[in-house]
């Protein structure tokens, strides 16, 4: 019991990774094994294998768990049938022939070359036809700061030469639907969401590993998923992760991840924390920042025109019209004052001239009256009635014509005389001419 406790404590404190359990799908049994019969334990003879059986048996044992081997690549030969490379210790004389199948090599996303220190993960295997021992690597990754940086520089140079860093697409205005690729655990997603303005945005997240061997594949699948099924819906994809060492950031320095970012039809914003080297995926992305909160700020910024222009335009439209109305009101006020002044002047002038006009008209009327009186007097003096009253009479001939002289008046002719208050007729008795 004490021993078990010690073992458990040891296991818990050990830095070694947990050993994978041995799968027991198909057991290749040794030809002879120990047999227990009754109370006696009988030692059987050593098992005897055929060569093929033995190699199968050994390979089965090798495949039961995974091993990680660190070494420097001395030879590296990519081939259609896979990658063949040799690892050796930096010091000492250990050499290990390694093989990686074509699919694993194609999906590695890391450029390997001689001189690079790598960690190969996989299991040993003996190639039956040749009896050759080799290490079948499932995963190979640069190991150590120097090697990681070298791999980073190699990839950076390669993709830069291909022009993957120069294509920068404009982010759409008023980003409304965002595809987020990150880990659901940790503060990153919370930071991103917290820093987004409440604009009624639709956020669609795919949870992925952002560290470790499975991360590149998950990130690539998430990018493909968004592009294949939500291309018409998403305005932008946001790829975010908190800061980490060069080793932690390896999934974002993976060639296949970088190419998947480049292949995205939807613009990609990378918000990847980093110390010194900007992750390759960030270099390829259309926009890159080093924190999730800055990535959120980029989304917010796509709405800037609305928030800046509306208040400005509002001031411009209403301000211009208000100014105009003030001008009109001022002009109207001036006109009214001018009109009132004119009327006042007219009134004053009228008052000033009224007396003179009255005098003028009175004079005119007096003059007219005087003239009328004079005319009346003249007319009165010349009136025939007045002369008749004074004793004068008017003689008319028999045919009614006024007799102005005795010419044509003969004795015995009849005449008519008009006097004051009446007429009389008479016969001419005598005519005397002077």
């Amino acid at each position: 019991m004490a021993r078990r406790t010690q073992a458990n404590l040891f296991s818990a404190q050990s830095d070694e990774p947990a050993k994978p359990k041995i799968p027991r799908k198909k057991k290749i049994a040794a030809p002879d094994e120990t047999v227990v019969t009754g109370r006696d334990v009988v030692e059987k003879p050593e098992p005897v294998f055929s060569v093929g059986e033995f190699l199968d048996y050994v390979n089965e044992l090798f495949r039961a768990r995974e091993y990680a081997v660190v070494g420097e690549i001395t030879e590296c030969n990519p081939h259609p049938s896979g990658l063949y490379f040799t690892l050796k210790d930096k010091e000492g004389n250990g050499v290990l022939s390694c093989y990686m199948n074509p699919y694993a090599y194609r999906t590695l996303g890391v450029q390997l070359e001689a001189g690079m220190l790598v960690k190969a993960t996989g299991a040993p295997n003996v190639y039956k036809p040749k009896g050759r021992f080799s290490f079948v690597a499932r995963q190979v990754e640069p190991f150590g700061e120097g090697s990681l940086r070298h791999a980073y520089e190699l990839l950076k140079k390669k993709l830069e030469a291909e022009g993957l860093f120069t294509r920068k697409r404009e982010l759409p205005e008023f980003i409304g639907t965002v595809g987020i690729i990150t880990s659901r655990t940790g503060a990153v997603i919370d930071d991103f969401r917290k820093n987004l303005k409440p604009l009624g945005l639709s956020l669609r997240m795919i949870d992925v590993r952002v560290e470790g061997a499975s991360a590149p594949g998950q990130i690539i699948r998430a990018l493909e998923r968004f592009n294949a099924r939500m291309a018409g819906e998403l305005d932008a994809i946001v790829l975010i992760r908190g800061g980490g060492s060069l080793e932690d950031m390896q999934p974002f320095n993976n060639e296949l991840v970088a190419r998947a970012v480049f292949a995205s039809h939807i613009p990609v914003i990378a918000g990847l924390g980093h110390d010194r080297d900007v992750p390759i995926a960030a270099l390829v992305a259309d926009r890159a920042t080093s924190t999730p909160s800055f990535a959120a700020a980029m989304v917010n910024d796509s709405w800037r025109r609305l928030f800046e222009d509306v208040p400005r335009f509002e001031d411009a439209v209403f301000g211009a019209y208000e100014d105009r109305l003030r001008d009109v009101a001022h002009a109207l006020g001036t006109a009214a004052a001018h009109l009132a002044g004119t009327f006042r002047a007219i009134a004053a002038r009228y008052e000033r001239h009224a007396e003179r006009l009255a005098e003028f008209f009175k004079r005119l009327i007096d003059q007219a009256n005087d003239r009328l009186k004079y005319a009346d007097r003249v007319l009165s003096a010349m009136s025939p009635e007045r002369n008749l009253k004074l004793g004068y009479s008017i003689l008319f001939s028999g045919d009614g014509k006024v007799l102005r002289s005795v010419d044509g008046v003969e004795k015995g002719s009849r005449v008519k005389a008009r006097l004051d208050k009446g007429l009389f007729e008479a016969v001419v008795d005598k005519v005397e001419k002077k």
Partner: protein, 72 residues
């Protein structure tokens, strides 16, 4: 956001900008015409102001779909 919604915001801002330009270009603003423009501008501003109001963002994790695609 659908293209229509985005276009609407962009178009409305564009129309509003045209009204601003109209006012800037006038040597002497016709009071009647100006009033028409102000009415049109006020309507656009009102609609755009609704887009500026705080509306909670909607969050959804697409997990099952991805798992399906992984299974595929």
């Amino acid at each position: 956001m659908t293209d229509n919604k985005k276009e609407n915001i962009g178009q409305k801002l564009g129309k509003l900008e045209e009204i601003v330009k109209w006012f800037e270009e006038q040597k002497e603003i016709d009071v009647e015409k100006g009033l028409e423009k102000v009415k049109e501008g006020a309507s656009l501003i009102k609609e755009l102001r609704t887009k500026m109001k705080a509306v909670e963002n909607e969050f959804q994790e697409i997990k099952k779909d991805l798992e399906k695609s992984e299974e595929e």
